[in-house]
Symmetry: C2
Subunit: 378 residues, 2 copies
C-alpha cells in the first residue's frame, strides 16, 4: 500500500507498506543480481549502509541455482538472510540482453541460457511462477524490452504484446498468491510502461496500464542508448499519465544527476548497477563528483574518499590504501569502493526525501547538480 | 621480549611483548600478502575474527606500490589501519619462488620482478631497509630458501651463506633502528634456520644462530615437498637446539594437523595461506575436517558451515547460500569462506594455548586429530 506523503512541484515522496517493512521514497534499490551484491557485500553490510530494498534478477537466479532450490530454502529472504523488501525483475530484460538465439512469440520467449546454452521458455506465467518461488516482495511484470533505436511499427506491436502479457501476469500472480504453498502470498506486482522514444505510444500505454490497479508502475526501456535529454523528456511526458498515488519506478537509471532529474519529474523508485560496477572498476561517487582511485594523484593521499562521509570505508581507510589495493588487484579494494558507492547513493536518496518533504527540492537539486560537477577524474 | 608461560612436554605457550601489543602463543599469523587479506577481508574484519598478528610480504610490497610509498604513509600499520603486531617476511622466499632469472651472489640476489620484469637487487641490507620502511613489528632475516630436493654440498654452502647474511641483517637492522626517521625503532629480528632435510646441518645451524641473541627463531625451507613425517622429524631434531626462551616460528605451515604436530614439538608461531587460498577455492576448515562447499550435497543444506561456530559467516549464512555464491562466482562466497577459515585457525590456536596452559595438550591433540578426520570432501 503506497501513501503519498509530499509533493514538491512534480517531485514526490511517499512510503510503500509491504509485508517486509515500509519503504520510504524516493528510494534507490541496491542491485544484488544473483542474490548477492557484487564486490563481496553481504546483507549484513547492506544494513550498515542504509539499504532499504535489495533487487535480484529473476533470469540469473532461474538459470543458476534455480528458483525451485530457493523456494525449498524458504525463499530469497531466508536464503540470503535479508528481512527487508526485495524487488525481483521479470527476467525480460536479461532474456533480451543476455540470452542467445531468442524467438519472441505471443506465448512468450524461447531462448538459450547464456550459461550452458540449454533451451528455456519464459512467458508471463513462467516469470510470475519463478518470482513467486523466489518470494520477493515486489514482482515485475514480464515485458518486452525492445532494442534502441527501433521502428515505430515494431514498438507499437511490441507494446501491445507487453500489455497482453501484463494482463496474463496479473491473472497468474493473483492465482499464485492464493496457493497454499506460496511463500509470500502478498507479493506485489508492478507493471512496466514501454514505447521507446515515441511519446504518444508511451502516453497511450501509460493510460492503459494505469487502469489495471497494480501496486506500482515502472518506466522501462530507457537508458538504452537515447540521450539524457530524450530520456528526461519521455519521463516528463509519461509520468503525468501514471497514477500519483502509486510508486513510479525508472528501471536501470542511473547517475546521481540522472536520479536528481528523474525525481524532479515524479519518479520515486530507482535501481542501477553503476555504484557496484563502477566501484569494481576503481571509481568512487562523491558529493563533488566521480573519482578514479587508480589515478596517480591519490598515491600519497591519506584522506578518506570523501571527507565527512560516514560509510564504513571512509570511516577507516585512505585513498592511498584503496589505490594500492586496486593496483595490487586485491578484492578488498573493490569491496571498499562498492560499500562507499552504495552508501553514497542511499545517503543521497535520504537527502532527496528530506528536501522534498520540506518543500525545497528544486533548490536542493540545483545545489547538488552544481556540486557534482567539481571532480571528473578520467 | 618473550616470556615462556608454560611447557607441557615439548609444547610451549608464551607471550611476546612488542611495541604493538602482546602476542599470546602458539599463534597463527593471518597472511595479508599485499597489505590485505585475500578474499576482501579488511583489518576491521580481522579484529572480529580473533587475529593477533597480520603477516605481509616484503617482496610484494616492494615491487607493487613500494615500501618508500608506505613509509611516506606512516608505515604498514597506519597504511592498512592495523594497530596490532605485523610480521614481514624477508622477501627471500618470494625471490626464490616467484622472481625470474635470479642470480645468487655473496652480496645478495639479482632478479627480475615477476610483475614488470625490471631488474632488482636484494641482499640482507636491502631487505632490512625495506622492512624498516614498512615498519613492521617483526622483521625476518634475509635467507636463501634452497630448492627441494638439493644436494648436501649445495645445502651446506647455502646455509653458510645464510649465516653470513644473518650477521649482516642484524648489523643493518641495529643501525636502522637508531636512525631518526625510522618509524619503528623497536623493530624485532627473527633469524631463520635452514639445512633442508639434512639433520646435522639443521642442528649445527640452529646452534650457530642461537648464539646471536635474536628476538626469535624460525625454521624455514620446510613444507617444500618433503613428506609430513620428514618435516615432523626435522622439527623434532632441530627445536631442542633453539633457545627455549625465544619464539619458534615454523614458516608457511600448514594444515590444522600439521600445526597440532608442530606445536607438540615446541613450535609457537605459524603462518600459512591455506585458510585464505582454500577458502577462495570453496573449501572450509571445520573441527570435523575439510568441506568442499561446491559439493552438490550442500545444495539444500541450511545449516551453517560449522554448527556452534561463532564466526561472522556461521552466525548468519547457510551452506546452501555459500554454495550458490560459489557457483554464481560471487566474490561474497569467497569472503564468507575466508572469514570462517581464518576464524577457525585463530580459534584452534586459542584452544591450543588453553590446552598447553592447563597441561593437557597431548590429550587435546589426540582428540582434535581424531575429530579432524571425520569429513574429507573431495
Amino acid at each position: 500500500m503506497y501513501k503519498l506523503i509530499q509533493k514538491d512541484s512534480s517531485a514526490k515522496s511517499g512510503e510503500l507498506k509491504t509485508v517486509h517493512g515500509t519503504i520510504q521514497t524516493p528510494v534507490f534499490m541496491n542491485v544484488g543480481t544473483a542474490a548477492a551484491i557484487k564486490g563481496a557485500v553481504s546483507t549484513v553490510d547492506l544494513k550498515n549502509i542504509g539499504t532499504q530494498v535489495q533487487l535480484s534478477n529473476t533470469y540469473h537466479l532461474h538459470v543458476r541455482t534455480g528458483d525451485e532450490v530457493i523456494k525449498k530454502m524458504g525463499g530469497l529472504h531466508r536464503f540470503m538472510v535479508w528481512d527487508s523488501p526485495i524487488l525481483t525483475d521479470s527476467g525480460g530484460f536479461q532474456v533480451f540482453s543476455l540470452a542467445k538465439l531468442r524467438k519472441i512469440k505471443e506465448e512468450g520467449v524461447y531462448f538459450n541460457s547464456h550459461i550452458d546454452g540449454r533451451k528455456i521458455f519464459m512467458g508471463p506465467e513462467e516469470s510470475m511462477k519463478i518470482q513467486s518461488n523466489l518470494a520477493s516482495t515486489i514482482a515485475m511484470a514480464f515485458d518486452e524490452c525492445p532494442p534502441y533505436p527501433a521502428q515505430r511499427s515494431y514498438i507499437q506491436e511490441s507494446v501491445n504484446r507487453t500489455t497482453r502479457w501484463l494482463i496474463r501476469c496479473k491473472k497468474e500472480l493473483d492465482r499464485l498468491n492464493t496457493l497454499e504453498d506460496t511463500i509470500n502470498k502478498h507479493q506485489m506486482l508492478f507493471g512496466i510502461n514501454q514505447g521507446g522514444t515515441y511519446k504518444d505510444i508511451r502516453i497511450e500505454h501509460a493510460k492503459v496500464i494505469s487502469e489495471m490497479e497494480l501496486d506500482g508502475y515502472a518506466i522501462g526501456g530507457l537508458a538504452v542508448g537515447e540521450s539524457h535529454e530524450d530520456m528526461y523528456h519521455i519521463i516528463e511526458e509519461t509520468v503525468p499519465y501514471l497514477p500519483d498515488d502509486k510508486p513510479v519506478y525508472l528501471m536501470g537509471v542511473g547517475t546521481p544527476a540522472n536520479i536528481l532529474e528523474a525525481v524532479d519529474r515524479g519518479v520515486d523508485f530507482f535501481d542501477c548497477v553503476y555504484p557496484t560496477r563502477n566501484g569494481r572498476h576503481g571509481h568512487a561517487y562523491t558529493g563533488l563528483g566521480k573519482m578514479n582511485l587508480l589515478n596517480a594523484k591519490y598515491e600519497l593521499d591519506d584522506r578518506p574518499i570523501e571527507e565527512g562521509c560516514m560509510c564504513p570505508t571512509c570511516q577507516t581507510y585512505s585513498r592511498a590504501y584503496i589505490r594500492h589495493l586496486l593496483k595490487a588487484k586485491e578484492m578488498l579494494g573493490m569491496r571498499l569502493l562498492v560499500l562507499h558507492n552504495l552508501y553514497f547513493y542511499n545517503h543521497m536518496m535520504e537527502e532527496i526525501r528530506e528536501a522534498i518533504r520540506s518543500n525545497r527540492y528544486k533548490q536542493y537539486k540545483k545545489q547538488k547538480l552544481e556540486s557534482l560537477k567539481q571532480y571528473d577524474d578520467k
